[in-house]
């Protein structure tokens, strides 16, 4: 394991046009890295919401970093619709591949297993299926000829998994507690970039109580320290959801000008960038 890298170096390692897998707002998104991607001026990113997207995705879309999003929803939770996502859909400036939550998980699980596709029940009769030429309906081969139609989903391997965990150890293992969809994302992706609150000595895999909530360093490409890196989203029992911050964002991001003002204040202004560096 190499030492942690800086947040800005991590953002620089994400090429324009990459397919990024992001967890939702209740499951350890790295808002810190999303902000760093905005600062680096990332372009043409393709986002995968696993299985839905939230605050970080809306901000990246508003900042013009995103060409395409594949997700089952984009939402700010109690703060309502995602304003920049909604505006981009209306303007036609973003390509949306609508998905449904278990389909995202299933496509990633196929990639985890290294198989070309996996079947999933349901979906038949939905326009989501009708708009996904890459999803196929076949008869269940274990039933009589032509019976029991079922949907096949192709394996999906993201270029980069991005999430925020509580801590990494000296070996580069990452602990994320029960939010193991992040493990699925890491297993399925070519690279995993993980921001953490802190790096601690030792090896989580030697500790029976921590091992089950740990992703082995096998799957982790790089780690960067970003204190409060999930903020304004909650991080397990470390800190809560900052509803006032998200409400303020939702209000300002209703207009493009308001969003630009918010972005300048919270992300791109020299002070905002310095706050991020200071936290490293």
């Amino acid at each position: 394991m190499t030492s942690p890298i800086s947040l800005e170096a991590m953002a620089a390692s994400v090429p324009d046009g990459a397919l990024l897998a992001l967890p939702p707002d209740n499951s350890l998104p790295s808002v810190a890295l999303a902000k760093a991607l905005v600062r680096r001026g990332a372009r043409g990113l393709r986002l995968l919401g696993v299985p839905v997207a939230g605050f970080a995705a809306d901000m990246l879309i508003g900042a013009g970093c995103v060409a395409e999003i594949e997700t089952s929803a984009v939402s700010l939770g109690e703060a309502g619709f995602a304003p920049r996502f909604s505006a981009a859909v209306k303007a036609g400036t973003i390509r949306v591949r609508d998905c449904t939550c278990p389909a995202v998980h299933t496509m990633l699980q196929a990639a985890e297993k290294g198989v070309p596709f996996m079947p999933l029940r349901g979906l038949i009769g939905s326009d989501i299926l009708a708009h996904r030429p890459d999803w196929k309906v076949v008869p269940n081969p274990y039933e009589g000829t032509g019976e029991d139609p079922i949907v096949l989903l192709p394996a999906l391997q993201p270029d980069v998994a991005i999430f925020h965990a509580v801590m990494a150890d000296a070996e580069g293992n990452v602990w994320l507690g029960r939010r193991r969809e992040c493990a699925t994302i890491a297993h399925a992706s070519k690279r995993a970039l993980v921001t953490v609150e802190r790096v601690v000595p030792g090896n989580f895999l030697e500790d029976e109580r921590l091992a089950a909530g740990t992703i082995s360093a096998t799957y982790v490409t790089d780690i960067a320290i970003a204190e409060r890196g999930a903020h304004p989203v909650a991080l397990l029992d470390e800190y809560g959801f900052d509803a006032a911050y998200v409400s303020d964002y939702a209000r300002m991001a209703r207009t493009e000008a308001g969003f630009a003002e918010w972005l300048a204040r919270e992300v791109t202004a020299p002070q905002a960038a310095q706050r991020a560096v200071a936290a490293e």
């Binding site: 109690e78 389909a103 349901g122 029991d148 029960r178």
Partner: protein, 250 residues
Amino acid sequence: MSDIRLEERLAAVLARLILDPEAPPARHIAVGAASPIPAAACWLVHKQGHPVRLSLLHKRSGNPFTEGTRELFDLTGQGRIDLFFLGGGQIDGKANLNLVGTGEWPGRSVRFPGSFGSAFMYAMAHRTILFREEHSPRVLVEQVDNISAAGVNEPGVFRRGHAQALVTGRCVFRFHPDRARFSLQSLHPGETVESIREATGFAFDVPETVPQTPDPTPAELALLRGPVCDEMLETYPEFCARVFDRKAAA
């Protein structure tokens, strides 16, 4: 009782539907994102002493899933989720749901957040209660612009359950999957069959007599305002502050 809030009335209505003896038993209920009233209904059933397992997807502490949210879908795929709740930006007379958006795909007129797990859950849970507080021709339409999740399927397509009912701020409809139609089950106070017809974009069946939706009992209200609210403070702080005048400790 004039001081019953609509949210409390709706939670009590949903609780009775959960316990409907004609429906398959609700041993395990999952409640998704942004569903405070269905969550309150589930907690009410729980606090009334019924043996029901609640899996609240957005509960931060004590979240039931240790393999991430895919566990919910795996459980449902196996038939181990008895009841789920869904809503929709549009709901039509065949119980099709639109959570994607209106106008041309993928919602070029008004984009909604997205379909979440609806296209799977609606078919694979043993039953679904549809809930949408706004009851207007804008929401309850003859035909949805885009189908996130289909109300019924062609014969031969594997499907475990359907909509049981649709609860709105004005009434309760029962759904009949055999004929893919709703019928009016009860009217909330102040509503008539005529007022429901005016507010509803789809055709529905009307039985000879349509009762009024019963008020929550004092015991139900006491549970909602006390122990149910206690359980909901962490996940739905804004809802608890607005409906129950309770704020979470800082």
